[in-house]
Symmetry: C2
Subunit: 309 residues, 2 copies
Amino acid sequence: MSDPLPSWNDGPAKQAIISFVTETVTRGGPKYVEQEERIATFDQDGTLWVEQPTYAQVMFTFHQLGVMAAKDPKLKDVEPFKTVLSGDSAAIAKLGVPELLKVVALTHSGTTVEVFQKTAHEWLTSAQHPHFKRLYTDLVYQPMLEVMHYVRANGYKTFIVTGGGQDFVRTYAERVYGVPRDQVVGSAGGITFGYDEGGKAILTKDPKLLWVDDKTGKPVDIHLMIGRRPVMAFGNADGDQAMLEYAQGGEGARFMLLVHHDDATREYAYGPESTLSPFSEALMARAHQGGWMVVSMKKDWRRIFAWQS
Amino acid sequence: MSDPLPSWNDGPAKQAIISFVTETVTRGGPKYVEQEERIATFDQDGTLWVEQPTYAQVMFTFHQLGVMAAKDPKLKDVEPFKTVLSGDSAAIAKLGVPELLKVVALTHSGTTVEVFQKTAHEWLTSAQHPHFKRLYTDLVYQPMLEVMHYVRANGYKTFIVTGGGQDFVRTYAERVYGVPRDQVVGSAGGITFGYDEGGKAILTKDPKLLWVDDKTGKPVDIHLMIGRRPVMAFGNADGDQAMLEYAQGGEGARFMLLVHHDDATREYAYGPESTLSPFSEALMARAHQGGWMVVSMKKDWRRIFAWQS
């Protein structure tokens, strides 16, 4: 049988994934899981693709603000847009979440859902990551893609459960991860039903934030959108703890995994100090207490990206 | 080739379904639809199963109130519970939606999501319909089940989009319709994350109503939960109009169908006068204007239930 995880180095992490999947699909075995229960949830930023130096969606948001300001120069006089448009990274870094959400609300609303999809798609197929100089969709972790393919080949249904906007992630999830749009759970803004000038029914994106899919919001949204406890859950930061705890709280076989960013050479090394996705000491302690697998990108991954040898 | 819709009489409705599905899966044909776009949405009450004399979930709600009042007799002194517990059908019929939602909030909260599932499952596997004297799950329309199987066999992903509570419908959707829990979109109440006494992560149902999946809420929730315009949409009442309009508003081949309850002998006959699911004259006019297929249960369905010859 060919190796289902060729980008993983041999070791306890790779072995644990293969053992778990094999045991849960072995009919009659003590860890067997019925097919309809085989739900695997994956955080996205930092778990499936690069999240440093900042989330791709934040880069998209800032880019869109520039596009909008070119058409409506008054935006340059209004905070927090003024600061973002100044390009002053020190000042931008000081913006709080409420300010950033104002920029997201402005740039993610006022169009039909189809126009937004097209706009996001165009950015994603042209914008380059500042360090790697590649499309963001080329910065998907090949070892995690292999895990997704492997569990799907064993009857698991894979879901993305992301703090990112679900409308943004759905633009590429199918093409990049093989995850259909209805299997992407994320943060969401309001949607309004109406008709266009020709009388066709349309949905328009509102500036209102409906929910943030992070921390305890993740298990809540998993219930609202999926309706089942995951059997396998994958994350990389404090925001994923509740999702992994929810997976573990169910009966029968359970598998929880955290990706630890400790490879400053091939990707990034960051932990508790990260402003984006802190991996706190408390989370590390929780992982050890719960028997969660902590993956070292440096040691456990033979390669990180598909384009690496 | 065997008949995919044996419970349908030959006629324009059956022919339209078969032609549409055949054409949309014929690669290279003018109506071809890519597999990932093949989304079919089905209303539930009155479209997939019997909704008269009242919704199954309302019967469940009233039953649960009785169970709760047996433990907590003070409920019998508080409106609107007092009226419901009196069993006075004339008085109950006069209760407004806000009063009924109070009963739903009380009976659908205060437990973990798993306990609620178990409670609903037990009721559904024992309660009988007052007229047919059968389980509600035996009152599924066999012709619609055949449509669901037929479109799925042709690569369509089937979703239920119901005004009913999604936690309730998910209890049986997989077993009865072959629709997995994550493909059930419905009304929803709040969910709170927490820990049980042993420290295990749990989700508890709140009395707060999050959204009602009816009328323009249906296309909005389709976007939030599915993320794609349906290519086929099936309903039976005014509450489904926006969903069918949303399906029709997309590009390429589209199929919209309304079930019309005109069979007083084998099921029920009702239309604009129904307090549950009115099929107004305006909806009939909209269907004709849009070229939507209106199915006569009396003429188009050879049998209505699987247990009928």
